[in-house]
């Protein structure tokens, strides 16, 4: 018997010492979107659970629609100064607003409500209604003083433009602290933590007309990849598409000739805010902004062209695969 057990040892080693890391994947709904966490390494399930819990905690803090959230409380404070834990996250948004001269602006909430995009009440409002809503839009209405926030001029704040980014950044750190690697997909925010068994994670950039498929890939590690496009939440009226990314200067969905913008960055918050701002800026202004500020971005135009900024090739491996879908890679 001893001989038999001793002989079993190599069998155990060959099977138990598998080359791949322990892996645990979980799917869940939070922040009004679908999320996936794939964790590699020891205690992967425990880490994935911690990720889900942190996302849910941030959802409760930063949601605009949940009546028990801090942002809801702030938006309904009638301009009073509010002491809130959410101040730290609003403070994260402010540099992005300033850097983009307000192309990214979390005070577009009244416009989001008015247009109702993504809801059954979606419609094109009258110009007068848009003007009325615009009177409350403007990032200068946000005042942050330490942990105290004041919203002036009837402004409301919607952190949807950075909340998933904040969640991705914090959850990536949860993986690192636990000694895990993995891939977080929090709605349109991806965070590639470490490697996939020694190789970079490969992220496909969706085809705006067939989001199950992709036009390009980026191979990344220790980077976030975030996309915004006109193809997820939208409605059509009189043959025209109205999507959810608003131009704070016009009160209308941004009509910039772009279908999607992807930003690759170590900070998912920054990438999140930049995709929105670059979509509003359009190709020419957006490309110039990226070159000036060293932002890695991929632009997809309505003319079926794909452009990348010079920073892209510096931080990841980009591959264009959209030829058979009629796209051209312009730069």
């Amino acid at each position: 018997m001893k001989r038999f057990l001793a002989a079993l040892l190599p069998l155990f080693c060959l099977t138990a010492c598998a080359p791949k890391a322990q892996e645990y994947s979980t799917d869940f709904f939070a922040m009004n979107t679908f999320m996936q966490a794939r964790v590699l390494g020891q205690d992967a399930q425990q880490t994935a659970t911690a990720v889900e819990q942190r996302v849910n905690a941030l959802d409760k803090l930063l949601s605009r629609t949940r009546e028990d959230s801090e942002i809801y409380r702030l938006n309904h404070a009638n301009g009073a100064a509010i002491e809130t834990e959410a101040a730290a996250y609003i403070a994260l948004a402010l540099p992005q607003i300033e850097a983009t001269s307000g192309s990214f602006d979390p005070t577009v909430a009244p416009l989001t409500d008015l247009w109702g995009i993504g809801t059954e009440a979606a419609h094109v409002p009258a110009q007068e209604e848009i003007n009325q809503a615009m009177a409350h839009v403007g990032w200068e209405n946000i005042q942050v003083n330490g942990s105290q926030v004041t919203l002036k001029n009837g402004a409301e704040i919607d952190l949807g433009g950075i909340a998933k980014g904040a969640a991705a950044d914090e959850c990536a750190q949860i993986l690192r602290d636990a000694g895990n690697e993995g891939l977080l997909a929090l709605g349109g925010n991806i965070y590639a933590v470490g490697t996939n068994n020694g190789k970079p994670w490969v992220v496909g950039i969706a085809d705006p007309d067939d989001t199950a498929d992709y036009l390009a890939t980026v191979a990344v590690q220790e980077l976030s990849v975030v996309t915004s496009g006109d193809y997820e939440r939208y409605f059509e009226q009189d043959g025209k598409r109205y999507h959810h990314i608003f131009n704070p200067a016009t009160g209308y969905p941004a009509d910039s000739g772009l279908r999607g913008v992807t930003v690759i960055d170590q900070s998912s918050v920054r990438a999140d805010a930049m995709t929105t701002a670059l979509f509003v800026m359009g190709l020419e202004k957006g490309m110039a902004f990226c070159e000036q500020n060293e932002i890695a971005a991929v632009f997809i135009t309505s003319e079926k062209e794909i452009y990348t900024t010079s920073k892209v090739s510096e931080i990841c491996e980009f591959s264009f695969v959209g030829e058979d879908k009629g796209y051209t890679y312009a730069s």
Binding site: R3, A7, N32, F34, Q36, L183, V203, T211, A212
Partner: protein
């Protein structure tokens, strides 16, 4: 030590090593994942898991709200009673890792198993 190794010991060791090698090959093939599966989830509840082959033809109705069609090695949300229709517009899933999500009905269709060129698609 080798002198003390008996004929019977050698046979057992050789057999076990052969068995281990065969098992390792089987596991490697499984890990590479030639098989492609379609999974249909309602929230955290797995409703169906179907191994897809070239001849798969199956329609899955979920609570009268969503209809999933499996055809060959593909899956798609063919119909949904949600207002945004994002899941239907997602199109046909053909590779592991692709997901079609009906957010209002908390319904998910995804392909898993066979190795894919991408780990995730960002949209």
């Amino acid at each position: 030590m080798l002198r003390r190794l008996k004929w019977g010991d050698a046979v057992i060791i050789a057999a076990v090593l052969l068995g281990a090698a065969a098992l390792a090959v089987v596991l490697a093939v499984q890990t590479a994942g030639d098989r492609l599966y379609a999974e249909v989830w309602r929230g955290s509840e797995l409703i169906e898991r179907v191994a897809l082959t070239d001849t798969t033809e199956q329609t899955i109705e979920v609570d009268g709200h969503n209809t999933v069609i499996l055809s060959g090695k593909t899956a798609r949300m063919a119909q949904a009673d949600c207002h945004d229709q994002v899941c239907v517009r997602t199109g046909t899933l053909t590779h592991a890792g692709q997901v079609a999500v009906c957010l209002p009905n908390k319904m998910i269709v995804k392909l898993v198993g066979a190795s894919s060129e991408v780990d995730v698609i960002v949209s």
